[in-house]
């Protein structure tokens, strides 16, 4: 390919408006809140929440983009992740109870990895058994994944019991750092670090590897990718499993953050996740990231500024974004 034809297809220009909007919201909130310490605390909390939501939502939006499959049972993987994490932390209770940061990590890291592993395996099973027979049939997909969720929630009750399961956060991860008069909860910082790591890894995978290229191409035009001789179904199974594993990872972190696990943890998150991927544009990973941060930040700011509206802030946000851009922040161009 020579230089002339490379010029003929201009690179897609990055849409700077959503990030600018995020920045404007962060700065606007600073003006409205007034006290810098509160603002920092709220911003970190919002970022942590947004990144956690992003971890859980990213798989769902990619799966939809690739294969037009919407998994209404995605919350199940979140719940499974949280339950597995609770069991693992209990298993390593000696390390979790110790008063050293490294020993605590020795309990938390296995818990998170186990959660991702189990959720990923379950995702593989779920894709093969539940979703494969209903490719391309939206109505049946919604019904069958909802049905799968009912059965799986009941099975969680069978294995872990119907009661609320405590998930104690190890000692050194509780409390907050104090920098001057700014309080930052330690666990939120961990969530921010893990979330950013996942996001960067995902960006690198999607933009710098061949698999990533195929996934992006598949979201845009899957027939063409198949015509080139790539098995999009196999790719899809991989994305589904990775998405489920990420949901499990997010569920483990979320469960530790709340310090308790119930079977509804996933279903409750699902509403937020749907809002995020609708705001971002169905199938768009960048949109999912922007949407998650938007939801996390707005929820925290509004919760502080006027708690009465906080309940509806997500829905209002979604309505406003959709009125502005009906296809979401970063619409996916479908052929």
């Amino acid at each position: 390919m020579n230089a002339a034809s490379a010029d003929a297809i201009p690179a897609q220009r990055f849409d700077w408006i959503p990030p600018a909007l995020l920045l404007a919201i962060v700065l606007g909130a600073f003006a409205m809140i007034g006290t810098p310490s509160t603002w920092v605390t709220l911003t970190v909390a919002g970022l942590a929440m947004g990144l956690l939501i992003f971890i859980m939502a990213s798989g769902l939006t990619l799966v939809f983009g690739l294969m037009d499959v919407m998994n209404f049972a995605h919350g199940l993987f979140i719940a499974i992740g949280a339950y597995v994490a609770a069991s693992t932390v209990k298993f390593f209770s000696a390390a979790a109870g110790a008063d050293s940061f490294l020993a605590n990590l020795g309990a938390v890291v296995p818990a998170i990895l186990a959660a991702a592993l189990v959720a990923g395996l379950l995702g593989w099973f779920f894709e093969r058994v539940i979703i494969k027979p209903v490719y391309g049939q939206h109505l049946k997909q919604i019904l069958i994944t909802t049905g799968g969720m009912i059965v799986a929630e009941q099975l969680i009750h069978v294995f872990w019991g119907p009661d609320l399961l405590p998930l104690a956060r190890p000692a050194t991860l509780r409390g907050s750092f104090l920098i001057g008069d700014i309080a930052i909860e330690k666990f939120r910082l961990i969530a921010v670090v893990v979330g950013l790591a996942v996001f960067i890894a995902m960006l690198l995978l999607l933009n710098r590897t061949k698999i990533g290229l195929l996934i992006r191409a598949g979201v845009e035009n899957k027939e063409m990718v198949e015509a080139m001789g790539y098995r999009i179904r196999r790719l899809f199974v991989g994305v589904f499993v990775a998405g489920s594993a990420l949901a499990g990872l997010g569920g483990a972190l979320w469960g530790m953050y709340q310090e308790s696990v119930t079977v509804h943890i996933g279903a409750n998150m699902m509403v937020l996740i749907f809002i995020v991927i609708i705001i971002g544009g169905l199938g768009s990973i960048g949109g999912c990231f922007a949407g998650a941060l938007l939801v996390g930040l707005v929820a925290n700011y509004v919760g502080y500024l006027s708690p009465k509206i906080a309940l509806g802030s997500n829905i209002l946000l979604m309505v406003m974004v959709l009125l502005w851009r009906p296809q979401g922040l970063y619409p996916v161009s479908k052929q």
């Binding site: 019904l143 069958i144 049905g147 009912i150 099975l155 069978v158 279903a267 509403v271 749907f274």
Partner: protein
């Protein structure tokens, strides 16, 4: 006469006819056949859920759209009556006013949601309705000075409907003819009438257009039917009937709260009833609701016996624990979607064709 009453949509299967007649007779004579409070509660719940499920089937089975906001409309009906009767004087006019306001609110909401999200894919509509319904459930539990919060609203009903009221001094055929008796027949009569009306709707030319949209919306659009408008009308119609079902249920319970109306678990129940009974057949709603409500109330006892008998075997007692009855209905649901897309009614009708 019968064909006219059923809008020409006969059961078309001898076994199905027998089941439907049995359910109809059972419900019509419930106060006489099954004395006691609990069986009458079950019968009233069956009536209300037949109506609720039938209105949901109008959306899912006939129009091919999945809504997760049906319990929201059910709840609006319940809260409408509850708020009217607890805030204003206890009279029939309050019931009428509460029901009218609830229906109006449901109409506006369903119209807005429909217009907003029915243009695009089924999945988008399902996601939006899920978000709106969960928002509404949170709203109802938070605005406790209006809705009573988590506790809900217990309210008084007009004199005629109160359990203490007696129409006849002597029991008639061994049954006390009082407030509960009258309420039951109001619930039963209204449910039956509205069910027949829905049957009329789906067998009208309008219903045929809905079916066409379900089968192939591009083609329906190409034939000149504005699919958005038809879908929105179906959505509004389903919402109004669900609201009326909510009104009836509230009158029967004399209570409205998040757990009896807005809970997502009820949405799941409705889905199970529609799919197991049979999507795209109004009779499926009757069969599904009857089987489900009876199972809900009596299956648990059977499972308790079985679970007790299996004591000592690993895992089995847990799988058949009485609280796990939903597990088995869920499995039945998944199998139904794969293998019997038209549920029990579809199976019965298919046997006749062979």
């Amino acid at each position: 006469m019968m064909a006219r009453l059923l809008s020409g949509d006969l059961p078309r299967s001898r076994l199905l006819t027998t089941m439907l007649v049995a359910i109809l007779v059972g419900l019509a004579l419930a106060p006489f056949l099954f004395p006691g409070t609990r069986p009458l509660d079950v019968a009233a719940k069956v009536c209300v859920f037949v109506l609720l499920v039938a209105s949901y089937d109008l959306l899912l089975g006939y129009t091919g759209i999945v809504s997760f906001a049906h319990t929201m409309f059910f709840g609006i009906g319940g809260y409408g009556v509850a708020i009217a009767l607890s805030r204003m004087e206890v009279a029939w006019s309050s019931i009428a006013l509460g029901a009218t306001a609830a229906v109006a609110l449901s109409l506006v909401l369903s119209f807005l949601i429909g217009l907003f999200s029915l243009r695009v894919k089924a999945i988008f509509f399902a996601m939006i309705t899920l978000a709106v319904a969960s928002f509404f459930a949170i709203l109802a539990s938070q605005l406790s000075n209006i809705t009573g919060g988590e506790d809900g609203i217990t309210f008084k009903v007009p004199e005629l409907l109160r359990p203490a009221y007696r129409l006849l001094d002597e029991p008639f055929l061994g049954t006390v003819v009082g407030g509960r008796f009258i309420t039951y027949y109001i619930v039963f009569g209204a449910s039956l009438a509205l069910f027949l009306a829905l049957l009329r709707v789906v067998n009208s030319p309008f219903g045929r257009v809905l079916l066409a949209i379900r089968e192939n919306d591009f083609r329906a659009e190409a034939l000149g039917y504005r699919t958005v408008i038809y879908r929105t009308i179906a959505n509004c119609l389903g919402a109004v009937v669900a609201t009326l079902a909510g009104v009836l249920y509230a009158l029967w319970l004399r209570y409205t709260g998040p757990n009896t109306t807005l809970d997502f678990a009820i949405m799941i129940d409705i889905l199970l009833m529609v799919v197991i009974g049979g999507m795209g057949t109004m009779y499926g709603a009757v069969i599904g609701a009857a089987i489900f409500v009876v199972a809900q109330n009596y299956l648990q006892e059977a499972m308790k016996a079985f679970s007790g008998a299996m004591k000592g075997v690993p895992l089995l007692p847990d799988l058949f624990h009485p609280d796990r009855w939903l597990l088995w209905l869920g499995v039945l649901f998944v199998l139904s979607v794969y293998y019997f897309p038209h549920g029990i009614v579809g199976q019965l009708r298919a046997r006749v064709k062979k």
